[in-house]
């Protein structure tokens, strides 16, 4: 497998191997150390956060105070619920629309097949400007509505193409036999195609879910009401912009843990879902990216 085992070429020198090891260790540390620091600070005790000047790399003890105050029912709790709602509803809508579109595009020769495929492919080439998109959402009366965070980004041309490529790889005999048994197209999709496509549905679903969970700019653009803020906007206001997060915002206890611990707890909450699905994403995304590149 490895490219290095080529007959006649001497193995890399010890010096080169040391250089490589150092460079790669450094790269990995650059990614890992900040994560460890964020998690440690969110769990560190008050004394240690103050003593260290704010950022803790290795906690002395574990304190859940920051998480308790964040989940006491204030701004952050609500934002987490909003983000979960948008992610769940959005992903369901996206998957349904994408699967139906991809399935209808996976059957060459059907009515208006080529123009529809062009509509999807062309959408990959440009992004509509900020101003016209904003005016569109405004004109449809979606400003300040959760729908503004879901509908405009519900269908991704790229995901549609990846899913279509997968559907086209399914054995045609199965679709034929479903038709002979009198199944409509919708029934074929639901009963035959989808059960065979669980893996690709899971991958594309996660792709969408990560997008909804991470979306920040649309919320900033379309949502004025702070009550409706998703987690990423709360993160921006209270962590990136350092707005004071007091008992008024958090609700609950009078003695708050240090601001920095609370901030890091919010950051960890935004990170955890991504970290949980990451092993799965990483295995399948790489394949997905290449499928799109080859067959798109």
């Amino acid at each position: 497998m490895s490219r290095l085992i080529v007959a006649g070429t001497p193995p890399p020198s010890l010096f080169m191997r040391v250089v490589k090891a150092v460079v790669l260790t450094l790269c990995c540390a650059l990614v890992i150390v900040p994560f460890v620091g964020v998690i440690s600070t969110s769990l560190a005790t008050q004394e240690q956060v103050i003593r260290s000047g704010g950022f803790v790399l290795i906690p002395d003890g574990v304190s859940w105070a920051a998480y308790k105050s964040v989940f006491a029912g204030g701004v952050v709790t609500r934002a987490v619920l909003v983000s979960i709602l948008i992610t769940v509803v959005g992903t369901a809508i996206s998957l349904a629309c994408t699967a139906m579109l991809a399935y209808s595009l996976s059957r060459p020769g059907s009515l208006a097949h080529t123009p529809l495929l062009m509509v999807v492919l062309m959408s990959l080439l440009f992004t509509p400007g900020i101003i016209p998109s904003y005016l569109m959402v405004k004109q449809m009366g979606l400003l300040n509505s959760y729908w503004a965070l879901i509908i405009p980004t519900a269908v991704s041309g790229f995901n549609t193409i990846v899913m279509r490529a997968f559907f086209m790889g399914l054995p045609t005999e199965l679709l034929e036999s479903a038709r002979i048994d009198g199944a409509s197209e919708a029934q074929t999709l639901l009963r035959v195609v989808l059960p065979l496509s669980k893996a690709v549905m899971a991958v594309i679903g996660l792709f969408y879910a990560v997008g909804y969970w991470n979306a920040f700019f649309n919320a900033m653009l379309y949502i004025n009401d702070t009550e409706k803020w998703p987690l990423q906007l709360v993160l921006r206001t209270y962590v990136v912009n350092n707005a004071v997060l007091g008992a008024d915002q958090l609700g609950g206890s009078e003695t708050l843990p240090p601001q920095q611990s609370i901030q890091m707890a919010i950051l960890v909450i935004a990170l955890v879902p991504i970290l949980l699905v990451y092993p799965f994403l990483q295995r399948h995304f790489a394949k997905g990216v290449l499928t799109g590149a080859v067959k798109g």
């Binding site: 070429t9 990614v31 509509v119 197209e185 993160l235 990136v240 920095q260 990170l271």
Partner: protein, 291 residues
């Protein structure tokens, strides 16, 4: 029947990808929100004057955009190529996979999280400055500094995307015929000569392709990333074309001018891709699409 299944998806694309293109007509209008797009008066090319009359705000945004683009092409673009070559030269598949899992991760984080993490590490009370202070050194204030803003942006993009961007290069590397290495080896080529004469030529098409696509984005530099940090840094160092469109249009209500700038920016991007593709064809590469 199949048409009905396609309908919801096509409707969403039509409404939110294609119809907004028509909304670009406000670039030629004096758009008044209470009149709506159709009834706002036409003003010809007046909105485009800002681009050609040397408006200092616009020029500042254009200058920042170009400087940031140059920094990113010089530093961000080659980084994944180097990293992919390094990963590809590892003897152990297992170590390679572990390193990949770690380095792909930042790609999946939102810009809000990435910016917050950078603040925690490099900020005034962050990891590095706390350590410097505790050891009696002077602090190193990058976050919120107008002077270091472009370098900070570049570092953030590298941190977030370098690992993930290696995927496409690693795929291209795995396509190179091993017989070429064997032949080179028989001819007595060292590892470095094999890298130069076999590996890099094998990557050339992919590098050209990605470079062309990057050219299309010359005027697009990390909008979310910049808007998140603009408050602390100030417009002089941080305003780029996309933030100019946002700040002037959505925030200050100069809809027409903003739409005009956005439109020209989009057209320049398409023109650059087409031109670069032409040049790639002249050099015998496939480019983004074939003739």
């Amino acid at each position: 029947m199949l048409l009905i299944l396609a309908l919801p998806g096509i409707a969403i694309l039509a409404l939110f990808e294609y119809t907004p293109l028509l909304g670009n007509v406000i670039a030629f209008k004096d758009y008044q929100p209470y009149l709506g797009i159709a009834d706002s008066p036409w003003v010809g090319l007046r909105n485009f004057l800002v681009i050609f009359s040397g408006d200092p705000q616009f020029l500042n945004a254009l200058r920042n955009t170009l400087i940031i683009t140059v920094l990113q092409v010089v530093f961000v673009f080659p980084a994944p190529i180097a990293l992919a070559l390094l990963l590809n030269s590892l003897l152990s598949e297992r170590i390679k996979r572990i390193v990949q899992s770690i380095l792909y991760l930042p790609h999946f984080l939102s810009w809000v999280i990435v910016v917050a993490i950078f603040q925690q590490v490099l900020g005034g009370s962050g990891l590095i400055n706390s350590w410097l202070r505790a050891n009696g050194h002077s602090t190193f204030d990058i976050i919120g500094s107008a002077d270091w803003f472009r370098e900070l942006l570049t570092a953030q993009v590298m941190w977030k995307e370098t690992g993930w961007a290696t995927i496409i290069f690693l795929a291209a590397l795995s396509q190179i015929d091993i017989a070429l290495y064997e032949a080179a080896s028989v001819d007595g080529a060292s590892r470095w000569r094999q890298l130069w004469h076999v590996t890099l030529p094998g990557l050339r098409s992919v590098i050209v392709l990605l470079f062309i696509l990057r050219l299309g984005d010359v005027l697009t530099v990390g909008f979310e990333q910049i808007i998140l940090q603009q408050g602390a840094v100030g417009l002089r160092a941080s305003e780029v074309l996309d933030t100019y469109v946002y700040n002037n249009g959505i925030i200050n209500g100069q809809w027409g001018v903003s739409a005009a700038v956005g439109l020209v920016k989009g057209l320049v991007g398409v023109a650059l891709v087409l031109a670069a593709n032409k040049v790639a064809h002249l050099f015998g590469e496939r480019g983004v699409y074939s003739k």
